[in-house]
C-alpha cells in the first residue's frame, strides 16, 4: 500500500501530461459540418452572369468541391490560384458566391481566372445558412449523389487538398493517387 501511495502523485501527473499534450494537438475551432452525410439542401439559385438557375440535383453525377467565396473575403484571394490548379487537374469545383455583389464577382473572375465549373449566386446567404456556412472561404466535398462528405473551413492549399479532400476523389478513381 505504501509504495502505491508514493507513486500516486506521479501517476496523476503523467495522466495530466497525456491529457494536456493531447489538448495541444486538438484544434478547438474545428467544427464538423452538421450536414455531413446528408444530401445537399435544396436550392434554386441563379448562375453568376447568367439568367439560368441551378438546383441541387444539377450537381449530381460526379464528386465535386463546392467552394464558398466572396470578393470581400481576403483569404479567398489567397486560395484562388490553388483552386485554378485543381480545376486544371480536372477537379470539378462549383462556386457559391456568398453574400456578395454579382458585378464585383464577375470582375474578380475576369481578373483572376475562373476555376469554377459554374458559380451560383447566394446574395442574401439563405442557401449558405441552410448549408451551415458561417464564413468564407469554406469548401465542401459532395459525392456523385450530392451527399455532403466533408467540410473544410479556411484556405484550401496543397496540404489541405492532399490530406483532407483528395481521398474522396481517389475513392471515386477520378484522380490518380500520385497527384
Amino acid at each position: 500500500m505504501q509504495p502505491l501511495k508514493r507513486f500516486a502523485p506521479l501517476a496523476a501527473f503523467l495522466l495530466l501530461v497525456v491529457l494536456l499534450v493531447r489538448g495541444l494537438s486538438l484544434d478547438p475551432t474545428e467544427l464538423p459540418s452538421a450536414r455531413l452525410g446528408d444530401s445537399l439542401p435544396d436550392f434554386e439559385l441563379p448562375i453568376l452572369g447568367d439568367s439560368v438557375s441551378r438546383q441541387a440535383t444539377d450537381w449530381h453525377g460526379e464528386p465535386a468541391l463546392i467552394n464558398v467565396w466572396a470578393t470581400w473575403c481576403f483569404s479567398c484571394r489567397i486560395e484562388h490560384p490553388y483552386l485554378l490548379e485543381l480545376a486544371e487537374k480536372g477537379v470539378i469545383i462549383y462556386g457559391l458566391n456568398y453574400k456578395d455583389d454579382p458585378e464585383k464577382a464577375l470582375v474578380w473572375l475576369d481578373d483572376l481566372g475562373n476555376p469554377y465549373a459554374e458559380t451560383v449566386v447566394d446574395e442574401d446567404g439563405a442557401f449558405g445558412l441552410d448549408l451551415g456556412v458561417y464564413g468564407a472561404p469554406e469548401t465542401y466535398v459532395i459525392d456523385a449523389s450530392g451527399v455532403v462528405k466533408h467540410r473544410h473551413v479556411g484556405v484550401v492549399n496543397e496540404q489541405v487538398w492532399k490530406e483532407q479532400l483528395a481521398p474522396y476523389f481517389e475513392a471515386a478513381q477520378l484522380i490518380g493517387g500520385s497527384d
Binding site: P28, L31, K99, L131, G132, Y134, G135
Partner: protein, 151 residues
C-alpha cells in the same frame, strides 16, 4: 452621491451587452424570448461569444433568423432545432446529451460522488481512532516535556 457612482459603475461595466441592431417586436413577450435565445445561442464563427454579443456577420444573420421566426410564431424549441440542424449542437451553450457531451454532463456528478466518497472514507478513518490516538499520544508527549521543563 455614492449611490449615483455605484449605479454609473454598473452601467459602464457591462458594455458587452451592447446590442448591435434593434428589432421591433409585436409583443414584449417575443422580445424577452428573443433576448433569452440570442444569449443562449453560440456564434459559430467567434466561438466564445453568444450571438447577442458578437458582431460577426453570421451572428447578425442568426439574430435576423431568430427575430423572423419568433414573429412567424415558431416556438423556442423549433428555432433552436432549426439552427442545430444547420450548425450542429455546437450553437447551443447548453447542448443536449449525446455521445460527445456525455462526459460534459456526467463529470460534475461523478466528481461530486468521488468527493463525497473521499470525505466519508476520511471520517471513517478518523472514527477508527487512528487520528485521535495519535493526537492523544502527541499531547501526552508534549505534556510530559512541558511538565519536565517546569520541574
Amino acid at each position: 452621491m455614492i449611490r449615483l457612482l455605484l449605479s454609473l459603475m454598473i452601467v459602464w461595466s457591462s458594455p458587452s451587452l451592447a446590442v448591435i441592431e434593434t428589432y421591433e417586436f409585436s409583443s414584449p413577450d417575443l422580445e424577452l424570448r428573443y433576448k433569452a435565445l440570442s444569449q443562449e445561442l453560440r456564434c459559430p464563427k467567434c466561438q466564445n461569444q453568444n450571438i447577442a454579443d458578437s458582431n460577426a456577420p453570421i451572428s447578425r444573420d442568426l439574430r435576423a433568423i431568430v427575430h423572423e421566426q419568433l414573429e412567424a410564431g415558431a416556438t423556442d424549441e423549433e428555432i433552436v432545432n432549426f439552427l442545430v440542424d444547420r450548425y450542429g449542437e455546437f450553437v447551443r451553450y447548453r447542448p443536449g446529451m449525446d455521445s460527445n457531451t456525455l462526459w460534459l454532463w456526467s463529470a460534475p456528478v461523478i466528481l461530486f460522488v468521488m468527493a463525497i466518497a473521499v470525505v466519508l472514507l476520511q471520517i471513517r478513518k478518523d472514527r477508527d481512532g487512528q487520528t485521535v490516538s495519535s493526537n492523544a499520544a502527541r499531547a501526552s508527549k508534549l505534556r510530559a516535556k512541558f511538565d519536565g521543563d517546569q520541574l
